[in-house]
């Protein structure tokens, strides 16, 4: 893959990107070997009390939330009829598709017998499990995303007929995608409903599924803004006039939407505390951390987005998007790691091993390599000249 890239770019193989990526991939391969020869115990700090670590907290929970740009963007464009966001759909779908693919790949490291991952769907269905819902929806949605992404690949390959058939499915796929996303985004939060005695009351709420779903919306929106910033830096030459012209609409429109959703989410969080009457926990150290989360990572970006949109400040929007994305990571880490097992003594709590972080970094690198490979070759940031106005 990397050598092809070098040829395509007509440059030396040893670009800084290739060197860094190469080293990380090499490390990833070594860690993979360790994982599948020594078991989880060899490279993780997981224990019987802490069965889930950052591969679940980051790779699964954050990965899925940050890939929510796929369904939010395609819904805005195709269902709500906001055609001015059309040029943002393909990058968002590509991000979502690769994101979900990476989530599934990450699960291969985490679960004990990865080749049995299809079991809950094809062998024996545990329908009482929230994880079953997650598994089924992620499986179906990954398929949907593959089909939604495929026109770009088919245009690249010149398979006109198939491409035109797939494009006809756009609306159905978009609706199906929203349904599946609603279900699994929310059920990732619902996973923790079964353990009220283990999750700190400030984060445990019967609204967990709703919190996870609503926060995935602004996570997706912010991720699209954040990513377009990066893409403009690295793939500017690939972007056509439509993309460049519409980008302003996307930035402002998405910032406005994220601002509203963040505001709603903030109100819901307050409502959640009131419902369970958890106010007295706010004075504890966990309470302070909770306040940091909802004031610093929800209320603040909500306010900053509003100011930035009003003052037409693109820079501020971009920084706020990054902050919001960070806030999602903070929230998912809080629910699944920091508030989880909060009553256990610190000696029995979990902190990731560097090799666990190494695998996560490796997977993110694989994501970037794949994204780069596709964005450099396929019509992601521009319309294929032969298919202009055929959508």
């Amino acid at each position: 893959m990397m050598s092809e890239e070098a040829i395509a770019g007509n440059k030396s193989l040893f670009t800084p990107f290739n060197l860094v990526a190469g080293i990380i991939v090499l490390m990833g391969v070594l860690l993979t070997i360790l994982r599948f020869t020594g078991g989880l115990g060899a490279i993780t700090n997981l224990s019987d009390n802490n069965p889930w670590g950052i591969w679940i907290s980051f790779d699964l929970l954050c990965g899925v939330a940050l890939a929510a740009g796929g369904y939010t963007t395609s819904a805005a464009c195709y269902i709500f009829g906001l055609k001015k966001y059309h040029s943002a759909v393909r990058p968002a779908i590509l991000t979502a598709f690769l994101g979900y693919a990476l989530v599934v790949l990450a699960l291969h490291y985490d679960v004990g017998r990865p080749w049995r991952l299809p079991y809950p769907i094809f062998v024996q269905q545990g329908t009482t499990s929230v994880l079953f819902e997650v598994g089924l929806c992620v499986f179906l949605y990954l398929t949907v995303l593959l089909i939604e992404y495929s026109p770009a690949a088919l245009e690249w390959l010149g398979l006109k007929k198939v491409r035109n058939i797939v494009v006809k499915l756009t609306l159905v796929l978009t609706i199906f995608g929203v349904i599946l996303s609603t279900m699994h985004q929310s059920s990732l939060g619902a996973l923790f409903l079964i353990a009220p005695s283990k999750v700190h009351p400030l984060w445990y709420s019967t609204y967990l599924p709703v919190f996870f779903f609503v926060s995935s919306i602004f996570a997706g929106l912010s991720m699209v803004i954040f990513e377009s910033t990066l893409s403009h830096h690295y793939f500017h030459d690939k972007m056509d006039d439509t993309h460049l012209k519409e980008n302003r609409h996307v930035t402002f429109g998405f910032a406005k939407a994220a601002c509203w959703v963040l505001g709603g989410y903030f109100v819901m969080k307050v409502f959640g505390i009131s419902m369970d009457n958890n106010w007295h926990y706010l004075g504890t150290s966990y309470g302070l951390w909770f306040l940091v989360e909802i004031l610093g990572f929800v209320a603040l970006p909500c306010f900053l987005y509003a100011v930035a949109v009003r003052e037409k400040n693109v820079r501020l929007i971009k920084w706020t998007a990054l902050w919001t994305v960070l806030g999602i990571v903070v929230n998912r880490f809080n629910v699944s790691m920091i508030a989880f097992n909060w009553q256990l003594p610190s000696s029995e709590r979990y902190f990731p091993h560097w090799m666990e972080i190494g695998v996560t970094v490796f997977l993110i690198t694989v994501f970037i390599i794949a994204f780069r490979f596709i964005a450099k070759r396929m019509p992601i940031f521009y319309e294929h000249p032969e298919y202009r106005d055929t959508h």
Binding site: D48, I79, P120, T182, P196
Partner: protein
């Protein structure tokens, strides 16, 4: 592309149906499951336990678990708090210096065999089974190793073979289910020298426990742990000191685990039913709005054009009229001039 429309629709159907059928814990249903009536259990009387670890040894032998680092008669192991792990289905812990107790108190830890187990509810391949006998069993042949059961268990019981690279299993007490089927007692119950463990039908055990508490009220706390915790467990406990002093959570509540997630799962048919209708509706509305807007635009353009052409026409005719008038006047003037000239000429000639 290997995905045909038929297959795709099939998946859509499967997604909807798969999530709505075969779910025993029904949030909206009017059914109440209060455990299998004839199921058996064990009553652990912690006032009788002497911490000899014989139950641990018996369990280890019967379940063919690996030999421990320190032998079972080495009681210094009790200096540390332990939990069940991949090589131990049961452990005994010692609690020193508890208020109201003369000496140390011992507690045996193992799977409590919940009446409605969290692990079984959480498992997405149904690897756990609550048998009618009362034991919660585990089937490693379908287990994916996701460890959600360990997240779900409120008692921190299931353990995992973390050092097993390819075929790790969940490890936990089976209540000696194979022995029960042979009519034998669980290993730990059989070996206990102090009758700290009483085997029997769960209902009978509750009666026995009540009887003990009633007969010796000064010896026992007025609570049978496990009677209602998390919907009730098949292992029951009585104690002379508060359970929380023995590391047992008293804030677990009485809601069985499946009920905790059934509400969220019940939203699946709502989403699957409502979203397509709503989203198609929104699509239709936005499309119609676009259509009407386009229509209005067309009409406005047309109207503007007609107006413009009408204006132009009237302007033209007016101009023509004016031109005609001007022409006429000019003609008149010319005629007049000619007439005048002619008259003048005539007069000149005549004069």
């Amino acid at each position: 592309m290997s995905i045909t429309r038929r297959r795709f629709l099939g998946w859509m159907g499967a997604a909807g149906m798969g999530l709505t059928v075969g779910r025993p814990a029904n949030a909206a249903g009017n059914k109440n499951f209060s455990g299998y009536p004839e199921s058996i259990g064990v009553l652990h009387d912690m006032t009788r336990c002497i911490g000899c670890r014989k139950c641990e040894a018996a369990c280890n032998e019967i379940n063919k678990l690996p030999a421990p680092e320190q032998p079972f008669d080495d009681l210094s192991v009790l200096d540390n708090k332990r939990r069940t792990d991949a090589t131990t289905y049961t452990v005994v812990n010692r609690y020193d210096g508890i208020q109201g107790a003369d000496g140390p108190i011992y507690r045996k830890v193992q799977c409590n065999h919940c009446q409605e187990p969290a692990c079984a509810s959480a498992c997405f391949v149904r690897a756990f089974n609550k048998t009618e006998k009362g034991a919660v069993t585990y089937d490693a042949s379908v287990c994916v190793g996701c460890r959600y059961c360990m997240i779900a268990c409120p008692f921190y019981v299931p353990a995992y073979e973390y050092n097993e690279p390819l075929e790790p299993r969940i490890m936990k007490c089976t209540l000696c289910y194979p022995r029960l089927m042979d009519g034998k007692l669980p290993g730990c119950v059989e070996i206990c020298p102090k009758e700290a463990l009483t085997f029997g039908k769960r209902d009978d055990l509750i009666t026995i426990a009540r009887e003990r508490i009633r007969s010796f009220p000064e010896q026992y706390v007025q609570h049978i742990y496990g009677e209602h915790e998390m919907g009730g467990t098949n292992w029951l406990y009585v104690s002379g000191v508060p359970f929380s002093a023995l590391g047992m959570r008293e804030d677990l509540g009485v809601t069985p685990a499946p009920k905790l997630t059934s509400g969220a799962l019940a939203s699946v048919p709502v989403i699957a039913g409502l979203w397509p209708v709503l989203l198609t509706g929104i699509y239709a509305v936005s499309k119609r709005k676009d259509k009407i807007a386009a229509q209005e635009r067309r009409q406005a353009v047309k109207a503007a054009l007609t107006q413009a052409s009408a204006d132009a026409e009237s302007k033209l005719s007016k101009a023509l009229e004016q031109a005609e008038l001007k022409h006429k006047r000019l003609l008149e003037v010319e005629v007049k001039k000619a007439v005048e000239e002619a008259t003048a000429n005539n007069e000149e000639e005549n004069s």
